[in-house]
Subunit: 352 residues, 3 copies
């Protein structure tokens, strides 16, 4: 019964949002419809991810989720690069990284922690994620430090080389975590014995199909939603930095948000951390460098130099996420701390 109602609203809200978008209805109505649709599509995505994770193991499920979640962002960002909106792209990359590490991880750890006193996950995975995140921070900070001494051409060259190096590093990370050291990085989180009762009886193939379908739906709705934002920006007088780093990032990551929280509340904190941190890493080590390289083929090269505010936000998020995840155990207060820092950064970006 409940299930039927869920799928009815999912399909109805998706079709209505699409109709509203293409028929050019009132923007406020479009915005409300898209918000409802994205919540249900993300819920659907969470279920599909859980089902795939059931077959593939929590980490592979988390990786799939992060990848599908970021596919939508990558497509949106490529359109922004095409239009030469480099600052907006960088702001949304920043927002996506800190949104995942502070908001998604914070909500998952906080809500999971309210239900379970202490939640555990693989320490070695946490330690590697931290080192990778440090690499991303270093790769973004080095060009900014040297920016003043460089000519435009030298900076362009450094950006391209760093981008290529990051993509290679990300590829080798997949080789390392999925092939050579798969076993060492596997999950240790306690499985809920009731778990199987809740599991939907989807086959392996059906689960994967539903995951892809959910991702496509989220991508469409996200784009429609982003389209309505410009209207809101003008009406409420928000800065582009705030819109890029907070609104676009929060909506673009809605799927990861609800999927991670959903898993954390089922005591699968390992998968939730993998979605949150893994998604940040993918944005920093794969999405951002790909955009730098793609921009060269579009005739208007984008460099990899972020502003001081963006770098400070990324570095703070990385250091805090690392401090909290490095013992492989989480509780509600640690989630609260992550959320607090997100709010402080949000207020600062809003006031700038």
């Amino acid at each position: 019964m409940k299930q039927k109602l869920f799928y009815t609203i999912l399909i109805a809200s998706f079709l209505l949002s699409g109709t509203a978008h293409y028929s050019g209805l009132n923007t406020t109505l479009q915005f409300v419809l898209c918000c409802i649709a994205v919540i249900f599509a993300a819920g659907f995505m969470g279920k599909a991810t859980e089902s795939v994770a059931h077959y593939a193991g929590e980490r592979m499920g988390g990786f799939l989720n992060a990848t599908f979640g970021n596919a939508a962002e990558l497509i949106i960002a490529i359109f922004l690069v095409r239009d030469g909106l480099h600052d907006m792209v960088k702001a949304s990359i920043t927002g996506s990284i800190i949104g995942n590490m502070l908001l998604v991880l914070g909500l998952s750890v906080f809500l999971g922690g309210l239900k379970y006193k202490v939640q555990n996950f693989n320490v070695m995975l946490a330690s590697h994620n931290a080192s990778l995140m440090l690499l991303a921070v270093v790769a973004l900070i080095v060009p900014a430090i040297f920016a003043k001494s460089f000519t435009f051409k030298e900076m362009d060259m450094l950006s391209t080389i760093v981008a290529v190096i990051l993509i290679i590093a990300y590829g080798l990370w997949l080789l390392f975590s999925m092939v050579t050291h798969k076993k060492e990085l596997s999950d240790v989180s306690a499985r809920d014995p009731e778990d199987h009762a809740h599991t939907l009886n989807w086959s392996k193939g059906k689960s994967i199909f539903y995951l892809v379908l959910a991702t496509v739906m989220v991508a469409f709705i996200s784009e429609w939603l982003v389209g309505t934002l410009e209207h809101f920006t003008e009406t409420f007088g928000l800065s582009e930095l705030f819109v890029g780093a907070f609104l676009i990032a929060i909506i673009g990551n809605a799927a990861e948000h609800s999927a991670a929280v959903f898993l954390a509340m089922k005591n699968k904190i390992g998968a939730a951390v993998e979605i949150a941190i893994g998604s940040s890493l993918q944005v920093a080590l794969f999405v951002a460098p790909v955009l730098v390289i793609v921009s060269h083929f579009m005739g208007d090269p984008m460099n990899i130099v972020f502003t001081l505010y963006e770098l400070a936000a990324i570095a703070i998020a990385a250091v805090l996420a690392r401090s909290i995840s490095q013992d492989g155990a989480t509780n509600w207060y640690e989630g609260f701390l992550l959320l607090v820092v997100y709010v402080i950064l949000g207020i600062a970006f809003f006031l700038v």
Copy 2:
């Protein structure tokens, strides 16, 4: 016999310092008397804390000690805010944070380490303290980074919001550490079997009364002592930054200093770390934000923007204290390192 002599000097030095202060005696004499009185009052406070900790557990004892110790500082700082001495207040907040994390922690670990080869304490507590300290550093650094782009009014608003958030975070930390996760954060330090022989036979009520009495005495003496400092500043030509960050902070924290060292040398390093780090956290997360809010009611709002030198000192102290405490084990060399960094910072502040 020994006990009697101790209490005689305690009372005598307290009364003499008070008389010297209110009768306006020679400042150098006042200074010497106050120094003697503060040493004995702090010793008394250490005994009372140990007795309360005996009944309440080491952590609660450490928390009580930190709280009573900082009450004195908070009162002194409110008087400074009233007089509009915002820079002096911020310097003394900085000094109190680095004094506790480098000098108090350093002395405790060093002297405790000379007696015991390795001293252990609860790793989970250390990890949480580190994350909280990071929050404090972030909360102090973010306003400073954005300070240039902000108007006076925006900075005032950000300061107030950050102050309220920090007080909420500190309140929830007490809820977390004293209620929901009390057991997980409890101490593991080996108890000295001889311990009970040394314990004073004070009842629970008497112990608490003596702790309050000792705190009140320390607060009075500290204020008298601070009063004599201006004279010394002029005579020896010291900068206000150095006086605020080093002299006021060292004297204002004399109680924590001796209590923590006293406990460390009895192998209760867990309580010593709790006093040192807990006191830093309380200053950063409670005393500083309360002063920002209180300043609004006094008509001369103080913002939360610290100077580069102060932020660098706080960040360095937090990173080093974290690096040394994160394994839950300490030795004399780690204490020495903390002291060395305190000395280097002290020389730099002195020369500025």
Copy 3:
């Protein structure tokens, strides 16, 4: 047979390089001869170190190796200080620190990790090394932060005091690690049972003599090699910062490089980490301060203020090396990450 060939080339290449140097042959030929000679001399040094480590324990062997390796650098740097080339000295100090922490450690961990899935070493040692490295970073950053507010004389005084403090800290570290806590810091790396079959049958005295002999040879060849660099700098238009921080540092540390890699591939990662991190620490805590003090006796005092680029590189290397070594276990991907960051820094320094 193989052994004989090795020693023949070792001696021949050493004699030929020397002849080429003193007879003033073609610089390119000198350069090639010195490169061959340094590879063989370093190989000889690795063998001697392994043999001494067999008698003295891995850590003492690593310490000896680091010390002999840096003796050569110290001598070269003193000649540079005498000639007033302060910037070149600081660049080579920077290069030596990051070269050891990123290149030597990275290569050891990477190549060792290709052969052994996970390599373990003493966690307490790693934690202490990290804290010491933090002290070094703090000691180098504090003077740079305060540099603007200081007069030339004040900066000179701060540099001298910091230099003396660092030398004392390094002396106490030797006391701590070799005397008071020797046992706690001992190695846990699994010993290869085949190990003894490979061991050369050198006596204790012979091993020590060969280690000293190898060090002297490396020192001579390094100096001849550095002499040919100026020619190359002019021919290829390289900046002095790049030459000091990368070329001189790589060649000056060739011995540590090959010795550490040699040990890592024999699964003695504990000794390899000790060489890499220990050598960085020695440069930062002993070589650099000694040069500051020595410069006073040469009439042209060198201060301890490094450029922003150098400090950023040192801080990044320290944070990354710490993040990767703090769990006491390494694998090929961690080695790869260290190498990647070294390459990114190298490109940035090259383009500056």
